[in-house]
């Protein structure tokens, strides 16, 4: 009894350590993108749990930035912020990107699975978390003029993330640079198609629901 409990504890500890090391691996990925992105999926150095964590942190980073950045640099009306819209604005496009990229690359002999694409994307977001959060904190200690460099850091974060995503497509699917760029461009087209289909789907569903509701009301009206 006590032996098995002990074993379970040890396994959990091992899983946790594996999780931590895969999370720590993101630091290696962002500094050695080519090597790191290859090992991320092919050598199983990354984990979905760490990827989820990074994605969550990315979302929270955006929220924290909106909430805690000094008003000198921030024109967000916090009372007007809708958490669902935030989710839609940040997480949803990223997830759709994964799907679109997977749909496209499976047709054009990409090596990556959906899981790999998801991992690559999540790990690519690390610089954003690392740069934006300090910016949010620093913004509380500088004047408007001194705060100009915050904008540079913000664009640096975006460029870094973009480059990492490009490298992730190259390494995960074993693509050349040109092919990766094309894959990303057409993934964006694919994203638009997916959004269009989703909107179509939901408007049709809501129409159908409205139809049945009106039938129900009609029956109520006629019968009683």
């Amino acid at each position: 009894m006590s032996m098995s409990a002990n074993l379970e504890k040890r396994i959990n500890k091992q899983t946790f350590e594996r999780y931590l090391s895969s999370l720590r691996y993101s630091m290696y990925v962002i500094t050695h993108p080519f090597d790191g992105m290859w090992d991320l999926t092919h050598e199983k150095r990354g984990s979905i749990a760490a990827g989820n964590t990074i994605l969550l942190l990315f979302f929270l980073t955006n929220l924290w930035n909106m909430r805690f950045e000094k008003f000198l640099f921030n024109r967000v009306r916090w009372e007007r912020v809708n958490i669902w819209q935030q989710i839609l604005g940040t997480l949803f496009p990223l997830l759709i990107y994964c799907v679109a990229n997977w749909c496209l690359t499976t047709l054009f002999d990409g090596k990556g699975r959906l899981k790999d694409i998801y991992l690559g994307m999540c790990y690519s977001l690390t610089p954003y978390i690392l740069l934006i959060n300090p910016c949010t904190i620093i913004s509380n200690f500088v004047t408007k003029d001194e705060g100009d460099f915050l904008a540079y850091f913000e664009s640096l974060a975006l460029v870094w993330c973009g480059a990492l995503i490009l490298v992730s497509v190259m390494q995960i699917h074993d693509y050349s640079l040109m092919k990766a760029i094309m894959a990303i461009i057409f993934s964006i087209v694919g994203m638009m198609i997916i959004v269009f289909l989703l909107l179509l789907f939901f408007s049709l569903i809501s129409d159908a629901v409205a139809f049945f509701i009106s039938i129900y009301k009609e029956i109520l009206f006629r019968v009683y």
Partner: protein, 507 residues
């Protein structure tokens, strides 16, 4: 596969959120007061009246025939001149505290000149010595007469290559600089103002818009045929529609030629203040530049942004603009902050149908409405006085007094942005940085907040320099200790592993 399923579920969930979420949040608030203002977010809010309409003066109230399409007002001392274009006359009206009485009707001049009767004059300027400058549009001339209406000189179309030979000289607006130079705005001329020397000789144009290069237009032209290019709008420089020369000889002018998109983005400059070189030197420190309304909808035939018809500037450097589209008046301080906006379209007292001109005598405002052919007189309220007193005291350097006035303003209108900023600025002058920051933060005044914050930060660092140094020293001292602990633990771990291995071996 399991992952795929979860993923699909998440995706569907997110998409459902799209369907369920309300897409927009209503932010339009109904304003039910006569006077309003905009906050930092560009949302209108109610305000107590800064000006209230006092009287409505038509031709028959002055004891003469009614006016017809009057175009302009001019005020000198306590005399108000109404240019009654439709009846080819100018009414000289004496204004006292309560009433307005007609002094004379100017329809004709005397002296050595061919045509003595005025023909649909559009504007008038009265010099300090009583000389009148009349834009006698129907006779294609500018008349200069003395106070007894005796002819002094006339200015006709200048014989100059820069002036288009094909068009008639139809002066519509004029003003005179202190030195006696006449600044004229003529119909069908879009090169700016025409300036004439004291003796009537032509100087040249001034204040024309600089033609700017637009890359998007260039691209469009590159890919269009010759016929398309010919159809495209050519670069048309600004046509001004009114001028007002203030006490310091700066020219306030207004234009209605700008893109609606520019106005929405806050890049349009319908109100300008020109120096003697024709450069725009208006200070635009507000959230939006002085341009009338910040946002608008198209309803009841009133479309697009405000179109400023006229401007008047008071000696305290505040100025007032009137919007002919929605019949609204806008007051600005010298920094370009909107002090208050009021008015509207309608036939009630204080509302207009087509305002054409605005003037001031003392602190009273006079607005001429072309369609109703009447002058509406506005009196400044106690609330308006407080605002102006606060601004004036700040200009004088009496920051405490200014702050007291702003406090009084806040008692009457807790939303008044400038009051918070004004109090903050006087606190800043009194070196109460932290309190000043509080006031600036309420109204999100980034520039002043930064200033206060800089001083506060400096003060804080100077006060706490000792602690900071001690903290750094302590940190430096502690660092090796941490390292030591880490090393010891590492060594202990190694030892432990080694021992375990030994034990395993021995087993």
């Amino acid at each position: 596969m399991r992952f795929m399923k979860k993923f699909a579920a998440a995706l569907l969930g997110a998409a459902m959120v799209v369907a369920v979420c309300p897409t927009g949040v209503a932010n339009a608030t109904e304003i039910n007061t006569y006077t309003y203002n905009y906050d930092y977010w560009g949302i209108e809010y109610e305000s107590p009246d800064a000006y209230t309409p006092l009287s409505f003066t038509e031709g028959h109230t002055l004891g003469t025939t009614d006016m017809k399409l009057p175009q302009s007002l001019y005020a000198r001392d306590n005399m108000l001149y109404i240019v009654d274009t439709g009846n080819s006359r100018i009414l000289e009206v004496a204004v006292d505290v309560e009433s307005m009485t007609l002094v004379r009707e100017i329809t004709e001049i005397t002296g050595d000149v061919e045509v003595t009767a005025l023909n649909s004059p559009n504007d008038v300027y009265v010099a300090e010595n009583g000389d009148l400058y009349i834009a006698d549009t129907g006779n294609f001339r500018i008349l200069h007469v003395n106070k007894d209406l005796e002819f002094i000189k006339e200015i006709t179309k200048p014989d100059d290559p820069t002036v288009d030979a094909d068009i008639q000289f139809e002066p519509t607006k004029l003003s005179v600089e202190r030195a006696g130079r006449v600044v004229v705005l003529a119909k069908n001329v879009n090169k700016g103002f025409m300036r004439f020397e004291t003796d009537g000789t032509y100087i040249g144009f001034m204040g024309a818009n600089k033609v700017t290069f637009n890359f998007a237009d260039y691209l469009k032209k590159l890919f269009s045929t010759r016929a398309q290019r010919a159809q495209m709008e050519s670069f048309v420089p600004t046509e001004y529609n009114n001028i007002y020369i203030d006490a310091n000889s700066f020219i306030y002018c207004s234009t209605a030629v700008f893109e609606e998109a520019d106005a929405q983005a806050g890049n349009a400059t319908p109100i300008r203040k020109l120096n003697s070189y024709g450069d725009d030197i208006l200070i635009r420190n507000g959230e939006m530049p002085p341009m009338g309304d910040w946002s608008w909808d198209n309803a009841a035939g009133m479309n697009g942004p405000s179109r400023i018809a006229d401007i008047t500037a008071m000696p305290d450097e505040t100025y007032y603009a009137v919007d002919r589209i929605r019949g609204r008046l806008f007051g600005y301080d010298e920094q370009g902050h909107l002090l208050y906006a009021f008015g509207g379209t309608g036939t009630k007292l204080g509302y207009f149908t087509l305002p054409s001109s605005i003037e001031h005598i003392g602190t009273d405002l006079f607005v001429l409405d072309a369609t109703t052919a009447a002058v509406t007189r506005f009196k400044r309220t106690e609330f308006g006085d407080m605002i102006h007193n606060a601004l004036a005291e700040y200009r004088e350097g009496h920051y405490d007094v200014s702050s007291d006035y702003w406090e009084q303003v806040l008692d009457r209108n807790g939303n008044y942005e400038l009051a918070y900023i004004g109090i903050g600025r006087s606190l800043l002058r009194q070196e109460k940085y932290q309190e000043a920051m509080k006031y600036f933060e309420v109204k999100r005044d980034a520039r002043n907040y930064s200033r206060a914050w800089k001083y506060y930060r400096k003060e804080w660092v100077e006060k706490n320099m000792g602690y900071v140094i001690v903290a750094i020293l302590v940190l430096v001292a502690i660092m090796p200790i941490f390292k030591l602990i880490k090393k010891i633990r590492w060594e202990a771990k190694l030892e432990y592993e080694y021992e375990r291995k030994l034990r395993k071996k021995n087993k």
